[in-house]
């Protein structure tokens, strides 16, 4: 990709590498970036110090155990005002040091820590004088992470092979729909398989048009999203409304893993969930292994980076892309089942509500890497779950802003302020065999 205005002015990747080689010589843009990051942290500190701390009083209580847990942890009681001033000082110290000296290579990490401190401040401020069940928020974080992480995984599989997939949302929605219908008729496991197949079929459409007809891949993604949204809404109003028994699927129960499930905090979060959640962790691990440790993975990645070279070595570009895209689609369809079979057991029009696009964001934020994407999905799941739970307790905090965070973070990431995510080189470009 040479046709980008920024490519000539400055290439962040190159400048980053070149400054690393020259060690202590910092480029102008790096100094400016360090200053900007410092100012951001100082602003966060100011918000905590002058807005949050004066406005809070009383003890913020965070519940760490469910009443029926085997080992009970005492609720965490934090005196809000004092804690907020301490946190503001921490932020001010980090921000001041960053602004004056800069943490250089560690500055992104420090920025991350600052955000964590800031979020903790917001939670303390919002809970001051009340009780907040931290543990139920953490458990729902993992649940909400699941479709986002799987959606991101779906995107990664497609894009690592060089096919842009912005139809993740449609794959989720399609999976959710067929999952609930087949689940209602033939049971949850059949529903899960049906959802997976649906995602695969939609991916087949993407692969067919992108590879055989070289249609613009972003347009195919938009079409898949619109088509599935229209079709599922139409079928819901035409068929499911008249046959409620087709829209009433069994929900997968949470399965508690013996011993591990009794560990405080970690137990309920990771070892007392539904099969779909366990499968998500399994798929992330499996896909990481497949992509980076097998011949298939190497070939898939090479096709996404340099299809011409791969082709000249005898790798079939289109076959490799077909496989990766269909695998990705099946993951996306499976993820869709979470919305119906994993939570409520019924389908509502447009119920995925943009989770596919958050998955896309997680994919980019995670640098097209399954583990990174899982981390990003956890952050997004956390902000989602936090905004939901904070809306329940009576606080003055506008939860809409928390819900915005994933999107804002993504813009910051693609703009290259916090590191730069590099997509596969041939992402979105059709390949023509010569």
């Amino acid at each position: 990709m040479s046709d980008n205005s920024a490519a000539y002015e400055k290439s962040p990747i190159e400048s980053y590498e070149s400054t690393e080689k020259k060690s202590n010589v910092l480029s102008k843009s790096k100094v400016r970036r360090a200053k900007i990051l410092g100012i951001i942290m100082l602003l966060l500190s100011a918000v905590v110090m002058f807005v949050l701390a004066p406005a809070s009083q009383g003890i913020a209580t965070f519940g760490l155990s469910f009443p029926d847990d085997k080992f009970q942890l005492d609720a965490l009681a934090i005196p809000s005002t004092a804690a907020l001033y301490v946190l503001a000082m921490v932020l001010a110290f980090l921000g001041g040091t960053q602004f004056l000296k800069g943490f250089q290579r560690k500055s992104t990490l420090i920025l991350g820590i600052s955000f964590v401190v800031f979020v903790i401040s917001i939670m303390i401020w919002a809970t001051a004088g009340q009780e907040f069940s931290l543990i139920s928020m953490l458990v729902s974080t993992i649940a909400r992470t699941t479709p986002i992480a799987l959606g991101a995984l779906s995107g990664i599989l497609c894009e690592r092979s060089g096919v842009v997939n912005i139809g993740i949302e449609g794959m989720l929605l399609g999976g959710a729909f067929t999952g609930v219908v087949m689940g209602s008729l033939l049971g949850g496991w059949v529903g899960l398989i049906a959802a997976t197949i649906t995602g695969g079929v939609l991916a087949l459409l993407l692969a067919f048009l992108a590879i055989n007809y070289r249609v613009d891949q972003i347009i195919i993604g938009v079409v898949i999203n619109l088509l599935v949204l229209g079709l599922t809404s139409f079928l819901t109003s035409q068929i499911l409304v008249g046959r409620p028994e087709w829209n009433d699927a069994p929900i997968f129960p949470a399965i508690k893993i013996p011993i591990l499930g009794d560990i405080p905090i970690i137990g309920p979060m990771f070892f007392d969930q539904t099969v779909i959640v366990y499968a998500m962790f399994g798929l992330v691990a499996l896909t990481t292994f497949l992509l980076f440790r097998t011949r298939w993975g190497l070939r898939t990645r090479s096709v996404g980076e340099n299809p011409k070279a791969a082709d000249s070595l005898g790798i079939s570009v289109s076959k490799t892309r077909y496989l990766a895209v269909i695998y990705g689609g099946m993951v996306g369809g499976f993820a869709g089942a979470w919305f119906t079979l994993g939570t409520v057991g019924r389908f509502d029009e447009g119920m995925t509500g943009g989770a596919g696009f958050i998955g896309l964001a997680a994919m980019i934020f995670g640098g097209w890497n399954p583990i990174g994407a899982l981390g990003a999905a956890l952050i997004f799941g956390f902000s989602d779950s936090l905004s939901q739970k904070l809306a329940l307790i009576n606080t003055s905090i506008p939860t809409e802003f928390l819900a915005m965070t994933p999107y804002l973070v993504t813009i910051v990431v693609v703009a290259g302020l916090v590191g730069r995510a590099r997509p596969p080189a041939a992402d979105g470009q059709p390949f023509e065999k010569q």
């Binding site: 842009v164 249609v215 195919i220 619109l226 506008p398 590099r422």
Partner: protein, 389 residues
């Protein structure tokens, strides 16, 4: 990605005025891509829609009945035509927004957010200022919509120009940010209607409303003066693109940014300006919905306008007049879809399916060529260029 221009594009870039529209239609490939492919795309989508109706348990006669209702609801009476034009009005503007960006090689998926912000600006001017005559208040509210949309379009524009952040990602994210922002604003005292707990804004003053055009004949005719604004915008964009230097620069950057930069065109400036204008157009669309139809805003009041704009721009092949024609077609489908739902009991969501299929077939002309066994297949347009960094 090839860095060379095909002869046709080069010809058009170098000498756009030499060939008139009719002359250009005369060449077979142009005729196919401008008229035949869109027609066959719409036709094929309607056929598949028919199959879907039948598969969901209707007889063939019932399905044909539904399509008859669709036809009647879109062009069957003066009132139907009024509804069609009412629905087409915002689609023209949203379509122009996407089309203009396409011409400069940008994919503006952010029409939705830009329309939302434009609408919020317009509704605020509409209800907060009182006592102005309508010939001042209405333009002021429209300008507010333009400014709101332009701000929301400027953000991805400057990010693209300065950091290379891909506009598809940033505009999708800005759509969701705008949605949440509207949710939030509608709960603040600044916007929320007094005495209401649900998120709904105050009503705009009568002096900020678009005048209706045909209420003299029948009070149910909703078509409003926003239609002229939309048509005016189409003319303006046509003039900008094909009759001005800046429009030439837009198209040059769209055809090949590297070559354009080499020729001394500031790609940075073009990206920012294009997204600014595209945002302004979408903002006008959102403002038009508020000032012409709704009179207030609610969460997500634009109802997927931005996505419909993509469909319109693709079907209209990014030509301003093509966009107008496509918008009227989609407006007709929307208006007819209402009638179809009421009198034939076929859900209006079918229209979304038909629309999606139309985009698909227009974007994949090779598919149409294969189905109908046309000779000389038309190559698919490559509009986006990966995530490119």
């Amino acid at each position: 990605m090839s860095s060379q221009l095909d002869p046709q594009t080069r010809e058009e870039l170098v000498n756009p005025k030499d060939r008139s529209f009719t002359q250009r239609l005369a060449t077979a490939a142009d005729w196919r891509s401008a008229i035949l492919i869109p027609f066959l795309a719409v036709f094929s989508a309607l056929i598949i829609g028919l199959v879907i109706i039948i598969l969901t348990g209707s007889s063939f006669a019932e399905a044909m009945n539904a399509y008859l209702a669709l036809l009647q609801g879109s062009v069957g009476s003066l009132r139907a035509i009024s509804e069609t034009l009412t629905a087409a009005t915002p689609l023209i503007l949203a379509g122009l927004s996407v089309a203009l960006a396409f011409r400069a090689g940008l994919f503006n998926i952010g029409g939705e957010g830009q329309a939302l912000i434009g609408g919020m600006f317009a509704v605020w001017v509409g209800f907060s200022i009182t006592g102005l005559p309508f010939f001042i208040h209405l333009p002021l509210a429209i300008v507010a919509g333009i400014v709101g949309g332009a701000i929301w379009g400027f953000i991805p524009g400057i990010l693209k120009a300065k950091t290379g952040a891909h506009e598809v990602i940033t505009t999708i994210m800005l759509n969701y940010i705008a949605l949440r922002l509207v949710d939030f604003l509608l709960k603040t005292t600044m916007f929320q209607r007094e005495g209401r707990n649900d998120p709904v804004s105050k009503n705009i003053e009568a002096s900020a409303e678009y005048p209706t055009l045909l209420t003299g004949i029948d009070s149910a005719m909703r078509v409003h003066a926003g239609l002229f604004v939309a048509l005016g915008a189409a003319f303006l964009i046509y003039w900008l693109l094909f009759r001005t230097t800046i429009g030439f620069e837009f198209r040059a950057v769209g055809a090949n940014p590297s070559a354009a930069r080499y020729a001394g065109i500031s790609v940075t400036k073009v990206y920012i300006l294009v997204m600014l204008i595209a945002g302004a157009l979408a903002g006008t669309a959102g403002a038009g919905q508020v000032l012409g139809l709704l009179g207030r805003t609610t969460p997500g009041f634009t109802a997927d306008l931005g996505f419909d704009g993509i469909a319109v721009a693709l079907l209209g092949r990014s030509n301003p007049w093509g966009v107008v024609a496509a918008a009227i077609l989609f407006g007709g489908l929307r208006a007819g879809g209402q009638q179809m739902q009421v009198s034939a009991n076929v859900g209006i969501d079918l229209i979304s399916v038909i629309q999606a299929l139309i985009i698909l077939f227009v974007a994949a002309p090779a598919l149409i060529s294969a189905i109908y066994r046309l000779k000389t297949p038309v190559a698919s347009a490559q509009i986006s260029k990966g995530w490119g960094a």
